[in-house]
Assembly symmetry: C2
Homo-oligomer: 371 residues x 2
């Protein structure tokens, strides 16, 4: 194996695949990055057995071949090299790297022992804009269940119907749903494990480039530019979440997102380990005020106020401040709407627009805590 490429391309490829490399005492080769040279290009790959990432680099090829190299030393070394031509050559299980005034030999392991990143048996294909997909996944992934006892909710549900894609995350205490307009013949849904979601968010550009998504039986592939990511899909039935979203509310309050977030943050400092804060919405005509309070025997207590507009009646309830803050940070509008029924019913939070029939593309639902 012998080839040349630029330092810039090489470090870009290594950085893209490096994050899923993990030290694994049973399978040390998973800590390595695969270099694979065919007639035309150099491929750089890593896998943790659940997710595999491949990155192709244009290179001047002198001899085909393959080797795997420990990721840590590779990324540290290549990132220190000058932005010049890099010559790589394999000699037995060693990779020789030359660049300007630097000459290294790094010990590797044979490529034949590296786990194969599977190819997809194509079932369906979707194409979507990179920035749109990245934003949608980011807005729901923080609501996903962290523990794997119910693997079906430890991932993001992606479901296509004829004119939209929905992205859903829930841990059964709160739920986030993002809707994107999307023309498609297909009607299908699948669950993407949260680790994969985080990797997809990380490697996608914040550009209008297209991402091609290929679905197989149990696997999925995201392709963008010179890179692809292959992951398993979560098997199982996603809960029928739509039934818990109320379709009628007794009250709606409209409040500045930043003011409300600030008041929740301040009060949550006094909420102790449960993170519970009490919201009391009191009404004077169409004007109203949210009183947010918390108390713990250790720390003390705090009450903060924020002005709001109200439609409907006043109401009191107790919410988990962490869930509330997670939701608020994913809403990009200046004003937000909180829709409520009573102290035992879920609260629906979303962006607020004064336009009639404004389409709301994001909703965040929190179950209140019994006070």
């Amino acid at each position: 194996m012998k080839a040349s490429c630029t330092q810039e391309n090489l470090i870009k490829a290594i950085s893209a695949v490096d994050k899923i490399v993990a030290s694994n005492a049973n399978l040390p080769i998973l800590g390595n990055i695969l270099f694979y040279i065919d007639q035309r290009r150099l491929k750089v790959s890593a896998t943790n057995l659940e997710i595999g990432i491949n990155f192709w680099i244009g290179a001047k090829i002198e001899k085909i071949g393959a080797i795997t190299i420990p990721a840590r030393i590779l990324i540290n070394f290549v990132s220190q090299l000058p932005k010049r031509r890099v010559d790589i050559e394999v000699f037995k299980n060693t990779l020789n790297i030359k660049c300007e005034n630097h000459k290294a030999s790094i010990n590797g392991l044979p490529a034949k022992d590296f786990p194969i990143i599977p190819k997809i048996e194509e079932k369906e294909q979707i194409t979507i804009r990179s920035d749109v997909l990245k934003q949608a996944l980011s807005q729901v992934v923080s609501s996903v269940a962290l523990d794997e006892t119910r693997p079906e909710i430890a991932g993001v549900l992606i479901s296509l119907s004829n004119d939209k894609i929905k992205f859903v995350g829930t841990d059964s205490y709160r739920l986030a749903e993002k809707t994107i307009k999307f023309k498609s013949e297909q009607e299908l849904s699948f669950i993407l494990p949260s680790r994969t979601v985080h990797e997809v968010i990380r490697i996608l550009d914040q550009t209008e480039k297209q991402v091609k998504i290929t679905l197989g039986e149990n696997q999925i592939m995201f392709q963008s530019g010179w890179m692809n990511l292959v992951s398993r899909l979560t098997q199982g039935q996603y809960p029928d979440y739509e039934q818990i979203i109320p379709n009628k509310f007794k009250s709606e309050i409209i409040v500045s997102r930043s003011d409300f977030e600030s008041v929740i943050k301040t009060t949550s400092l006094f909420a102790g380990q449960t993170s519970d804060v009490k919201l009391k919405i009191s009404k004077t005509g169409t004007k109203a005020q949210v009183e947010v309070s918390a108390e713990s025997s250790d720390v003390g207590k705090n009450t903060s106020f924020v002005d709001c507009a109200i439609k409907g009646v006043g109401v009191s309830l107790v919410l988990n401040s962490k869930y509330l803050l997670d939701g608020l940070k994913n809403i990009n509008s200046e004003k937000i709407s909180l829709k409520l029924n009573n102290s035992g019913s879920p609260v629906m939070i979303g962006p607020y627009s004064s336009a009639k029939n404004a389409e709301i593309d994001y909703l965040y639902l929190i179950m209140p805590i019994k006070a």
Copy 2:
């Protein structure tokens, strides 16, 4: 106790003293910050028994008094408050804080249980510019011994003679010395514990403001603006370090600081746990090259080159790359000079100036490793 001040002043004071607050299971009050109100001002203080910091704030005083409040909740809460007027009032062992739409009561502990930050019995006084003191301490503190088995070198030596101050740090493997021109009648020296050095660097402004240093028998006080810091001094005799600085060298090489640093960083990745890199300086006329190499059985090996100018003969030696990098990062000039004798003698590194009789205000000495 009752007073008002601005949120900006309050958070500035709390942030300045907060860093030395530590949780201490035997003396929980050390995790608190003292508020002390006299007729004119509000004083905010913290101490870890070795270092104490006091910060005064201009305030509208209604009633004198004192209380201590847990630092964590205080800094988190006050930093979230709007930049407005803050009203504070003590009620029993609780501090009530009001600011705009926020109203908190934080549980505290009585001020009478807070350790007293001692006053200094003045022996000597020095005045020096804040930015100059900050830079001098920064350039030597990374060379100070980390473990306390020899407390006298676990601090920075500061010594005044009639026309200069010297700052020295050593851990017996390397030594840094910074010299500042300074007119003074006094001839004195003392050792500042490294923890104190780090705190002084942290709280000093990068401005031309003056810092007043007051020396007592076993203590020192730094005063700057509305703030002072009191610390114990290290007792003991600083080693007679000047005798180990060679005054003759067989070779001097002059090299670009950034190029040399880059080559050392790259090669040190291959140096294994000992961090040893080999320097081989070879000469062709007045031009020369430094070859830096390292090898470990785990990782592999690397050789990198950097061009340099030379006066004197070629030489080979082995150095600890971490010590070398620590020294290089404290030298602010584009070109540096390495002065050497042989593979067993200390190397002296410093800024290089082509001007004749240029005064060198910084030197860094490293003992080589026996190859």
